[in-house]
């Protein structure tokens, strides 16, 4: 029942800069965070029907991100290192190798740094820093710069150690750095070294922040121009500390304004700035807007609101402020994709309606940013309503504005397809147009999978309503109105197969671009026939068909007292080859001929038939071939038929015992198959009440002894039987 206090949202405010700067100076191996294994979040292209990249916004600004999830607040450690590397390269005029300098900057310990400093005079450099030393020896102009840089690195390490709000670090430790930092900064300013002047001043700023001297932080940012250049990255980071200080002194409005500016100005800090941005009340929000001063800055603030809280509301506000704002496109596209990808929106159609109204207004505004994009979005939204006329009109306008934009063309094609599918007309002309659009779609269109599924699903419903159940099943396998029981109807299977031969029209070709292929349907029919003991028909049907060439994962004639899938997996015929399905049917038919005779030989043939048919079921070792078809079954009736025959024919007692036991297994399978799937726990197979007693009558046989040894189920049953 705990209610999480809202104040907890602020807890990580200062942690971001700490982490980021740790990487900047001493930290981080620059490696991306390890991904959790086993599950990957779907991308937007797998969830929505609109390709956000068509807007042309830089994707790393977060067309698809939610600021509260992983991937946005996270650091881009490599981006930070790249920025830092470029800064130092500039300082050294490119005369030092980046990797050599980073060895000193990031990895050398204090002793090594001091040794390197000394070495520049003495000539004895630490081994790991020798390349650096050699470079400097060759270029004496670098010497002084390197010495100054090393001094900086040493004190930066000390500053890093106290750059935290922990009470474990004593105030004195922080305070003692102030004077040397101030002196070093002043010296750098005096000798016109803006690079180190900025860095020393920045360190001072950080230490001051972690001393919780918030007012001083504000004053420093206002009064130290050296904080602002040459590194823009450090300049923005200084302002991030300023934002933190402002917040901690209750100047929430100013803090949020600062964060909005940082978000707009710094790619590296955009994520953390968005995460820290948090207006609280109407009063501070209005104050922030007022302090913004101009519509463009207010629009930046609303963009932050849009990225973090409510894209539609923010876009509406930005449109009021600045109808031609370049900030609208990203928010709109993001809301469009979010309405499809999010499963917790109250009513996506209402969001779509509001978006549609907004984009039409933007598109109609003279001077609007990317009016073609608004037309495209407007067309897409009309498409989702099934308004083909409006969709066509707007999509055509977008295409006309940018005839060479392939991404736009792909999206327009997809959107128009969706419009036709949503409309649901099944007259030949509509079906033809839709099919042609979909067949012409660029395979590189990132949202093709989602669009395809949606269009096919809608079309399946439409054709099913007109009685086209076969087409519906092709269009949307498993989700159409065809009941599962149809797959046990050979007429249905044959109608499905017959449909695969009709490929004349574009609609035919679109329907048949399905997971149901000729091969898969031949397999269904072949297996159906096998499981119904129509062995000759199965052989005939599979002859010359691709399905007939499919290989079984195991030798289906291997028989065991206790089934063992893993033991038999990969087992092959005596010639070393895997059984193909057609070859199996040939063998079964040959066995059937022998089984239809008399005596032990016929009994053995019957046993073999039963075993093969048992092993094709989900209880058997060769189940892989049927497992993912509609014919997959626990029903071992076909096998039971042959085991019964074997029992009836066998004269040899051992053979008869075997037939009885195998019939018992098959009986168990038939009982198991009768249970509803939801009640089938893995190990709880029912007892074969007909055949176990018959098996017991062979208690004098060696086979029976083997069964007792290997089959725990029978052994338990046997032990409970009354003795004579």
């Amino acid at each position: 029942m705990a209610f999480l206090p809202w104040s907890r949202r602020f807890k990580r405010f200062a942690s971001g800069p700490v982490l980021l700067l740790a990487a900047l100076v001493v930290g981080g191996d620059g490696q991306p965070q390890a991904q959790a294994c086993g599950y990957t979040e779907p991308s937007m292209s797998e969830l929505s029907t609109f390709d956000p990249a068509v807007a042309g916004e830089p994707v790393d600004l977060g067309l698809q991100y939610d600021v509260n999830t992983t991937g946005v607040g996270d650091r881009c450690a490599e981006c930070e290192r790249r920025s830092m590397r470029e800064d130092w390269r500039g300082y050294f005029d490119g005369l030092l190798n980046d990797a050599d300098w980073e060895e000193a900057l990031l990895r050398a310990n204090a002793a090594d740094l001091s040794a390197l400093e000394a070495s520049v005079a003495s000539g004895q450099a630490p081994v790991r820093l020798r390349p650096l030393f050699v470079t400097v020896q060759r270029q004496p102009t670098l010497k002084l710069r390197l010495l100054r840089a090393l001094s900086y690195v040493k004190i930066a390490r000390e500053a890093e150690a106290v750059a935290n709000l922990s009470n474990a670090t004593s105030p004195a430790e922080r305070q003692r750095l102030q004077v040397p930092l101030q002196k070093a900064a002043a010296a750098a300013v005096a000798r016109r070294d803006p690079f180190l002047a900025q860095r020393y001043s920045f360190l001072r700023l950080r230490v001051t922040f972690y001393q919780r001297r918030w007012q001083e932080v504000e004053q420093m940012v206002a009064s130290l121009p050296e904080l602002n250049r040459p590194s823009l990255d450090l300049a923005w980071r200084s302002r991030h500390y300023l934002a933190g200080a402002l917040r901690r002194t209750g100047k929430l409005a100013a803090a949020n304004l600062e964060l909005a500016r940082i978000h707009a100005g710094s790619k590296l800090l955009a994520g953390i700035a968005a995460a820290d941005f948090q207006p609280q009340e109407d009063a501070d929000w209005r104050a922030t807007l007022q302090q913004a001063g101009d519509p463009q800055t207010r629009a930046l603030l609303w963009r932050m609101v849009g990225l973090k809280f409510d894209g539609l509301a923010a876009a509406q506000e930005i449109f009021k402020l600045e109808p031609t704002s370049k900030l609208l496109a990203l928010l709109i596209v993001r809301e469009l994709t979010r309405s499809e990808a999010s499963d917790n929106l109250p009513d996506p159609t209402k969001l779509d309606a509001a978006l549609e109204k907004l984009v039409l207004a933007i598109a109609a505004t003279p001077g609007a940013d990317r009016p073609w994009l608004m037309d495209l979005v407007g067309g897409h939204l009309a498409a989702k309503r099934g308004d083909v006329t409006a969709a066509r009109d707007r999509l055509q306008r977008a295409l006309s504005a940018r005839p060479d934009d392939q991404r736009l063309r792909n999206q327009a094609r997809a959107s128009l397809s969706m419009a036709l599918a949503h409309r649901g007309k099944t007259d030949p002309a509509s079906l033809k147009e839709l099919a042609e659009l979909m067949l012409a779609q660029d395979p590189q269109f990132p949202n093709l999978g989602v669009v395809n599924r949606q269009v096919r699903g809608l079309l399946a419903s439409a054709v099913a309503r007109k009685g086209g159940k076969i087409d519906a099943e092709f269009l949307a396998p498993g989700t159409s109105s065809v009941p599962e029981s149809s797959w046990q109807d050979p007429m249905f299977l044959q109608r499905m197969l017959a449909r695969t031969k009709q490929q004349r029209t574009a609609f035919d070709r679109f329907v048949l671009a399905s997971n149901h292929t000729r091969e898969s349907l031949e397999l269904e029919l072949g297996l159906h026939r096998l499981f119904h003991n129509q062995l000759a028909s199965a052989q005939q049907q599979l002859a010359g068909q691709t399905a007939g060439t499919l290989e079984l994962n195991a030798d289906p004639f291997v028989t065991r007292i206790k089934d063992c899938f893993d033991c038999d997996f990969g087992s092959r015929r005596s010639d070393g080859k895997a059984w193909t399905l057609h070859e199996l049917t040939v063998s079964l038919n040959s066995l059937q001929t022998r089984a239809n005779r008399d005596g032990d030989a016929a009994a053995r043939a019957s046993l073999a038939l039963g075993t093969a048919l048992y092993n094709l079921t989900l209880l058997g070792s060769a189940r892989s071939i049927a497992k993912y078809t509609h014919q997959a079954t626990y029903d071992t009736s076909a096998a039971l038929y042959w085991y019964r025959r074997a029992y009836a024919l066998a004269r040899d007692r051992e053979l008869k015992a075997q037939a009885a036991y195998l019939a018992a297994k098959a009986e168990r399978g038939t009982l198991f198959a009768k249970r509803p799937p939801s009640t089938r726990p893995n190990e709880d197979l029912p007892l074969p009440s007909t055949w176990f007693p018959l098996v017991k009558t062979f208690a004098d046989t060696a086979y029976h002894r083997q069964v007792l040894a290997e089959c725990g189920t029978y052994r338990t049953w046997f032990a409970r039987q009354p003795s004579r």
């Binding site: 809202w6 949202r9 509301a313 009513d347």
Partner: protein, 352 residues
């Protein structure tokens, strides 16, 4: 001597009669409040309420245990005790640890002991922070466990008990669905349960639907209340909150928004006494409100509170002599002023 004998017999009979009547009555309940803010600091009004309502216990939210990074349990939101807080001597403080059910879903096998140790250490710190190194008499666990997590949660409870001193009572919050479906969810191995007699309604935009307390919904859970195999105390709601509605659906819950403040906001327009339409997009207590949203205030009237109390009295088991604790959620000035102390006193008196 005859009349004296008669008098004595009569008096004895009367005494017996009176005793018999008292044996049938329930003892007066023990009064309690929940304190659920992250900083423990009692205002004057709250102090007065504790005194005037003869409050015996204060259930203090100590901290939460939630799923942290790497899906490991993490202790968060530890209550901060204001320095020099004057805590009434006669009020027993019962720390409450809220455990999110999620932490037990994929918990590491045998991880309960480690978690119990972590929790116990933090509770010890709280005891010290309360200034007198108080020894807690009771500890309460608050977890909405399910049939899937019951074994791990119960194992945690046992592990925590093993760490605690022998005399320490342990209680656990019990929700109505855990009463009704006890065979599935089990009964936690604690000394007493605290029945949370609220949140049985639904979050909905409909005016008639109420999420804090709904007598009709409550009725569905009362049938087996008196046979629950754990002695039950009871918690009743006196808080209020505001639902944020958009297009008729609930999109947010403004827990820290007192409905009483809504009429004073200049960016809402009242639709009814309990519903307000947002007239411009802005922020309220950190939540963005979009123009057109509707804020639906939910409060429990004094009559509703009485009804809740009565339902409990009619349906809770009648123990012979154990004093039941009745706790109100939660102690906050705005809740106190909404009802007034007499109404709250009446609530305490009603539940026995």
């Amino acid at each position: 001597m005859g009349w004296q004998r008669t008098m004595v017999l009569g008096l004895a009979a009367l005494a017996l009669l009176l005793t018999a009547c008292r044996r049938g009555e329930r003892p007066a309940s023990s009064h309690a409040f929940y304190y659920w803010r992250t900083t423990f600091d009692l205002t004057t009004a709250e102090q007065r309420a504790l005194s005037e309502l003869s409050v015996d216990k204060l259930y203090l939210r100590a901290f939460d245990v939630v799923l942290g990074r790497d899906d490991a349990p993490e202790l968060v939101g530890v209550v901060q005790v204001r320095e020099n807080l004057a805590l009434p001597e006669n009020v027993e403080v019962v720390p409450v640890v809220f455990l999110k059910n999620q932490i037990f879903v994929n918990a590491e096998p045998e991880g309960e002991s480690a978690l119990a140790l972590q929790v116990w250490k933090e509770l010890s710190n709280l005891g010290k922070a309360l200034g007198k190194a108080r020894d807690f008499q009771e500890l309460q666990l608050d977890c909405d466990w399910t049939d899937l997590t019951r074994e791990r949660y119960f194992a945690f409870v046992r592990a925590l008990r093993a760490l605690s001193p022998p005399g320490l009572r342990m209680s656990a919050t019990i929700r109505l669905h855990q009463i009704k479906f006890r065979e599935r969810t089990g009964v936690p191995p604690v000394d007493r349960g605290m029945l949370m007699f609220y949140n049985m309604g639904s979050f909905s935009g409909e005016s008639k639907d109420r999420s804090i307390f709904d007598a009709e919904a409550a009725q569905r859970y009362l049938a087996r209340l008196d046979t629950y195999p754990l002695a039950l105390d009871a918690a009743l709601p006196i808080w209020s909150w505001t639902l944020q509605l958009r297009d008729g659906q609930v999109v947010g819950l403004l827990q820290s928004t007192d409905p009483a403040e809504l009429p004073r906001l200049d960016f809402v327009a009242p639709q009814t006494e309990q519903r307000f339409e947002v007239t411009r997009t802005t922020f309220l207590h950190g939540t963005l409100l979009r123009a057109g949203d509707v804020l639906k205030a939910e409060t429990l009237s004094a009559a509703d509170l009485r009804q809740a109390a009565s339902l409990l009295t009619q349906n809770l088991a009648r123990p012979a002599s154990v004093r039941r604790t009745v706790a109100l959620f939660d102690l906050a000035e705005r809740n106190l002023s909404r009802y007034g102390l007499p109404a709250l006193e009446q609530t305490f008196q009603t539940v026995r």
